[in-house]
């Protein structure tokens, strides 16, 4: 890794800390608002997401009436990068349905 790459990595690390220190990586008020979503909703989640495991997706789905949770196998936190085709299939499914 070059010095410039190390600097970018550190900047990312610092920014992540700044944005997510407390509350740690979540918004504790979110559960009070999710139920107000009335639009058709698709939740796309990586099966192996170790940052926010699929159990979070299940909680979102329960909170948003009529939403669908699609778990993508062998995928981590970034489905749109790791499994682009599966991600787009999910987007197609929700947009074509409506």
């Amino acid at each position: 890794m070059t010095d410039a790459q190390k600097d970018v990595q550190l900047k990312n690390y610092f920014t992540t800390g700044k944005l997510s220190w407390n509350p740690r990586f979540h918004n504790p008020d979110l559960i009070k608002w999710l139920h107000r979503i009335k639009l058709p909703t698709m939740l796309i989640w990586g099966e192996n997401d170790n940052i926010f495991p699929p159990v979070y997706g299940e909680a979102y789905q329960a909170a948003i009436a009529g939403s669908e949770l699609r778990i993508i196998p062998e995928c981590g936190h970034l489905p749109h990068q790791e499994k682009l085709d599966d991600f787009l299939a999910g987007v197609d499914a929700i947009t074509s349905k409506n």
Binding site: D7, L10, F14, K18, W21, N22
Partner: protein
Amino acid sequence: MRFSFFHLMPYSAVDLDAIKDTAWINFSNANYDPKEGHKLYNRYLDELEYADELGFDGICVNEHHQTAYGIMPQPSVLAGALSRRTENAKICVLGRALPLTENPLSIAEEYAMIDNVTGGRLIAGFVRGIGCEYHSYMVNPSSSLAKFHEAHDLILQAWTQPGPTAFEGKYYRFQYVNMWPRPYQQPHPPIWIPSQGSTETKDWASHPDRKYTMLMTFSPIQNVVRNMNAYSDKCDEYGYKCQPDQLGWALPLYVAETDEKAIEEARPHIENFFNKFVLAPTEYRMPPGYSSINSYKMIMENKMKFREQYLSIEMLMENGMFICGSPSTVSEKLESYQEQMGYGNLVIMGQFATLDHEHTKKSMQMFAEEVMPKLRHIGEPDAAAAE
């Protein structure tokens, strides 16, 4: 030279084998026995009071949270206890961690009370708190430096401006700053800034408006020398000459009858200190945003790398992180280092990790009777510059 005796108050009764990756943050307090804690608090206070009897110029406590490393999460409690049991020594709180509190005026009040009770024997230490504290208290490290500066400004306003005054900051806002009591020392107690040597701290502390004492803590000697010299250079840049009392060095130190005896008696305890009690992963010690990216890289390179290995007493002595030996050896080393750095305050941690009461007292007494008198004359203020 001014000499102070510093206590970390470690939980020395800890089962050392229970400390695996860290003695901090999430090292379970199931490992703490209050009956042992009761004995240790009282023993350690006895040692600080003994330092006053021996003629140390200052006795020092400090703040750490959730750790066996030091059981003083609220140091002003113990400073208050010492206020009435000591007569001459300055009471140095090194220091209170300003950004960790939601209301810095509570620190201004604690300090002013100690200063009043002692009739002006308080030295007020301001720190940001080491990285671990930001995990324990869940305070965002990225705002640490800005909160530190703002809290400092608020405390100085409370101490020096007749109230009531208003304070409007980004983090703290008060309609009525009007502190009772006001500090005994005017315009305010001396302020010390314990530091690991970040550029931001040196530039800020040495500013002509402040001229605060920078106390270098527990660092390899080349870092201490470089940082003290950089502080002095910054004073030159600001247009004045750095005085010895603006520079302090804090380190563990042990004295015995001979060099060999000192090393033999201190070895297990100083090695426990640096390899067990200090133990914490890098991400605990250096949370993201705690320092600038440049300071982060510098500290990682100069300090953390050294701590990744098992540190033997020989390595610690060679790196100047621990001074140990006969009174004459210790005196010679301190005098030689003083010539290189120009410090006028020496803060010794005479009890470390598992060192017992008898050896602590023996070393303290030997230092006070056989080392301090030899070094009193060095590190005194430059009379011409002081005028």
